[in-house]
Amino acid sequence: MNDVVIYAVISLSAIGIAAAVILFFIAKKFKVIEDPKIDIVEEVLPSANCGGCGFPGCRNFAEALVNKSNKDKNIEGLNCPVGGNKVMSKVAEILGLEAEEKEPMVAVLCCSGSKANAPKKVNYDGPATCVFVNNLYAGENGCPYGCLGLGDCVVACKFDAMYMDKETGLPVIIEEKCVACGACVEACPRNIIELRNVGKKSKRIFVSCINEEKGGVARKNCKVACIGCGKCFKVCKFDAITMKNNLAYIDYEKCKLCRKCVEECPTGAIHELNFPPKKPKPEKVMEKQKTETVSTEAKVVDNKPEKDLNTGG
């Protein structure tokens, strides 16, 4: 062992220890506490940073979760739609709490104003986004409530769960991919998209229209509009349907999926999803049902027998 090695050992150890000692005392003196749970919770979250929870990012959400659980001993009202119950129960576990069970939801499109049902009446010339058109006028098909078909919702969906169907001009929600983050609901300037429960075997029944005009006016723009005739309201035994402003609405928490209203509706505004076809009558065969695209089957609707529609005002 020569001098160099000895010097080396001494000086380096001195530097090392000096650093350690100084750091130790400084750390002690200037301590700032941050809850270590935040990191742990953050790791569990899906880090999609989608904002579905209402916070700018997963980290902020984690902070909110930890803070709320420290303060209120629960995390009610906070939910990560992407991770769903699985993640939330994990978070609850970390925080030593029970998470509330949220019924799984999915987005549905409450408009059937496809190109066939609600033909174009004017041209629009300008940037192709729904917000613009909504601010400017009623839209190419003239329905002041209907889908504008320019796909703001599709752009908003971070999970590739939506696409525009070129043929119908309406957006399509891919149920398997939808995580019910609500981004599309937020994005749609006309509030056409609604988050509803997934239901048993994904079966759902809903009014695919939000037009509050009187029936005649509504029908002028769109063949399959809800005309507010109230027939479904009368036929429903479970009080699931309410009528307001010429429009029927089906409450998914009350609906028992009996399908009476579907048959009753004269315009075909009520949609059923994921039910097995009733009787294989030739016209009623679903002509275009891809496994992943379930939406407004324009064709099916068209095949319904035309009824006299002078019911409205």
């Binding site: 090392g16 650093a19 350690a20 750091l23 130790f24 750390a27």
Partner: protein, 194 residues
């Protein structure tokens, strides 16, 4: 964990340079020729493998608070060893790489791997991870060096394939940025399609 996956991820999927964008300084600075890139890559790999191994061996002996300083000391030691060996046995390369040899110390990949991987995994995994990442780094540097050398000097690994002038810029600083930029763009495209 599947060791092969563990090993190969550093090449494309988690390539430290092209994907993680770590350790860009040496990547850009020393890659004016393929051989420099390779040399730097191997030196880094050596440090990476050795420090990964040592860290995973002693991970349970180190108190949490001094984890990082300890790792840094370990890494710095290996860097110095590389430095000394290279100066003694490959002086030309040593001169070409210059200040960037000691700077391996601050290369985020090395510390990142030690802290993020080796301090949690077994010895074998850490070894393989270090090898994979190191090779990925070396691969990236060599590739970058080769492209720059080919464009800027008309040669690869010193073997001249065109006579006369090449496009000088590519072995100067602007060329480094530009070539890396397009390489990453290309790779992104390639990764997307596969």
């Amino acid at each position: 964990m599947n060791q092969w996956k563990n090993f190969s991820k550093g090449f494309i999927k988690d390539n430290p340079v092209f994907v993680l964008l770590l350790g860009l300084c040496p990547t850009l600075a020393v890659t004016s020729s393929a051989i420099n890139g390779l040399g730097m890559g191997l030196a880094t790999m050596f440090v990476l493998v050795c420090s990964n191994m040592v860290v995973s061996l002693i991970k349970n002996l180190i108190p949490d608070k001094v984890r990082i300083p300890s790792f840094i000391v370990i890494i710095a030691s290996f860097v110095t060893i590389v430095e000394l060996i290279m100066e003694g046995f490959a002086p030309a390369l040593f001169e070409a790489l210059g200040i960037f040899i000691p700077l391996i110390v601050v290369n985020c990949i090395v510390l990142g791997r030690a802290e993020g991987f080796a301090s949690k995994q077994s010895f074998i995994s850490s070894l393989i991870d270090g090898l994979g990442m190191g090779l990925g780094f070396a691969f990236a540097l060599t590739l970058l060096g080769a492209v720059r050398e080919a464009l800027g000097n008309g040669s690869i690994f010193g073997y001249k394939f065109i006579e006369g002038d090449a496009i000088l810029v590519f072995i100067l600083s602007p060329g480094a940025f530009i070539v890396l930029g397009y390489l990453i763009a290309l790779l992104n495209r390639f990764r997307k399609t596969t």
